[in-house]
């Protein structure tokens, strides 16, 4: 049985990745999961300098999911390279570094710094975080801005570039096309959907940031639809995510057109989820006699 998939020349032993920001740099989940069994570890968004993120409360539960407004807290690229990338050297898995910034220059600085790091297999550019005021989502909600930042990053990036798209748009197909036209090697989607929760007893927002990004099983139908639409709009590979909880969910995204998938919020529900998704995919393949996972991609037209 072949579960290996390839994106922009990078070979992943299986299509299962971690959703950026839900798995740290893998360190915290190494207690639960054998990182060697994952297709890739996608690290928490990192900027050129440390970011403090948003005030608390930063997370809250909603029906079938959660809202977060972490605000991209991160220790900055220096610490990230010394500590997190170093940690990941022990493992036989691919490493995708998620990059965030407030201005195009911020992004470029991080991308350049990572250029010489051989431990980095791919870059994922987060232009879709709904929880920071400047930069980030602004690039992800306007196709011209997306085209611009993508092409500028592509000019300096040494690793293949994945553009991570926001679902908070009228047409995901248009955004996917803009990323492709600007030279992106792949796209990933969906980032979180902007949501809000009000504590009616305290008469306050549940999150200090008022709004937060929604993730978890509740958003899966929207994510599958967007993966499907994107996969019919572009030729570059797609990494699909949004509410994946088990192997069947992963297969659903693959059938919708994803080459790989990522597990996000469900890690919090069950820290073993990523490994279980790998097993679940294999079980499906065994049950239905699927020789190669790549046969299933986009099979539902």
């Amino acid at each position: 049985m072949n579960t290996q998939v390839e994106i922009a020349g990078v070979k992943f032993k299986n299509p299962v990745m971690t959703g950026s920001g839900t798995f740290g740099s893998g360190m915290e989940y190494a207690d639960f999961v054998d990182l060697n069994k994952l297709g890739a570890v996608v690290t928490k968004g990192v900027a050129n300098v440390p970011w403090p993120g948003n005030p608390v409360p930063r997370v809250t539960e909603v029906y079938g999911g959660m809202l977060n407004a972490i605000g991209l807290q991160n220790p900055g690229i220096d610490v990230f390279i010394e500590r997190d990338l170093e940690f990941l050297k022990k493992y036989d898995t691919k490493v995708i570094v998620n990059v965030c910034g407030k201005s195009v220059e911020d992004y470029l600085e991080v991308v350049e710094r990572l250029g010489d790091e051989s431990r980095v297999d791919m870059l994922e550019i987060n232009v879709s975080c709904p929880n920071v005021k400047e930069g980030a989502i602004a690039f992800g909600q306007n196709k011209d801005a997306l085209f611009d930042i993508t092409s500028r990053i592509k000019k300096v990036a040494k690793q293949p570039v994945i553009m991570k798209l926001s679902p908070n748009v009228t047409s995901i197909a248009e955004m996917a096309k803009a990323a492709e036209a600007a030279g992106a090697d792949a796209i990933s989607l969906i980032n979180t959907i902007t949501g809000m929760k009000i504590d009616i007893h305290k008469r306050k927002f549940a999150l200090a940031n008022k709004t937060g990004g929604m993730s978890g099983p509740a958003i899966k139908p929207v994510a599958v639809r967007m993966v499907y639409e994107a996969s019919h709009a572009v030729k570059i590979p797609i990494i699909g995510m949004g509410g994946i909880a088990n192997g069947d969910d992963a297969i659903e995204f693959i059938m919708a057109g994803a080459t790989a998938v990522a597990v996000g919020a469900m890690n919090f529900h069950d820290p073993y989820t990523t490994e279980k998704v790998v097993e679940g995919i294999e079980n499906y393949m065994t049950r239905y006699n699927v020789e190669d996972i790549n046969e299933l991609r986009g099979i539902v037209e």
Binding site: D31, V59, I70, F268
Partner: protein, 270 residues
């Protein structure tokens, strides 16, 4: 810090301690690694909920490989927990957090302070430091242990348990039992002296303790609370502001779930 796993725990007993406060004993291998001040994440099975509920370890029985949780019903998850009967299984994630630094109390006069639903984690703390029990997780004992507990009213849950291991001073908001007022009021009124405070309770209480400790020149370890998603340090949901740049985050944020929940009050920037 013990190993971490998500696993089934068997309900040994459950009873109501006071209106809306429940007392649950769970059998779990994790008991062997449990230190006072640490907590577990308890998962409701209700599918509308996904996140583990952080609940402190109130007491540990290493012989029975069991932990005791004392919790207040506030929402969907805790309401569900009340339905579990002996023999049922619950999923828990643990052992989480750092716990109280017992070694910092060796040979010192310690006061454990709890307020409201912050009372429970101090029980195992008092038990350990008192040395008055078998099968403890450490052999550190304090010179003396006093418990100062604050309640709303005469429903002074766990009071009898504390008396087994320590002197007990009670403060109640309505004055129905002990000192009328808060734990700091009770300290003063009862002339409780100490070198180290270990405390858990609502934010105003913890702020008052921090101020009190600074004034008296003593050390206070306080257990903080925040909304959590992962419970294991990965999501950065549960941070608190620290005075110094935190070693993990490289900003002034420490993760309550892993770097805490217990912090030296001095290090926290309220």
């Amino acid at each position: 810090m013990g190993r971490k796993e998500k696993s089934e725990a068997k309900v040994l007993s459950q009873k109501m301690l006071a209106e809306g406060i429940f007392d649950l004993w769970l059998e779990t291998d994790l008991a062997m690694d449990a230190h006072p001040g640490q907590f577990v994440g308890v998962y409701p099975t209700n599918k509308s909920t996904l996140l583990p509920r952080p609940i402190s370890i109130c007491e540990v029985d290493r012989e029975k490989s069991a932990i005791r949780l004392v919790y207040r019903v506030v929402g969907t998850g805790t309401a569900e927990f009340t339905l579990y009967q002996p023999g049922d299984y619950m999923m828990i994630l643990g052992i989480l957090g750092n716990g109280f630094p017992l070694d910092k109390a060796a040979g010192k006069r310690v006061v454990v302070m709890g307020g409201g639903i912050g009372v429970p984690p101090l029980l195992q703390t008092a038990k350990e430091l008192s040395g008055k029990a078998a099968n403890l997780s450490s052999n550190v004992t304090a010179a003396s242990v006093a418990a100062v507990m604050g309640y709303r009213n005469q429903k002074t849950f766990l009071a009898e348990d504390f008396r087994k291991y320590s002197e007990l001073v009670i403060a109640t908001e309505d004055g129905s039992v002990g000192t009328k007022g808060n734990v700091i009021d009770a300290m003063g009124q009862q002339n409780v002296e100490c070198d180290v405070i270990m405390a858990c309770g609502p934010m105003p209480m913890l702020k008052a303790i921090k101020a009190y400790a600074e004034e008296k020149g003593i050390t206070a370890y306080i257990s903080l609370e925040e909304r959590m998603a992962c419970g294991v340090g990965a999501c950065l949901g549960c941070i608190c502001k620290t005075k110094e740049v935190d070693e993990h985050s490289h900003v002034h944020n420490a993760r309550i779930c892993t770097d805490g929940p217990v912090f030296d009050a001095e290090d926290i920037d309220f």
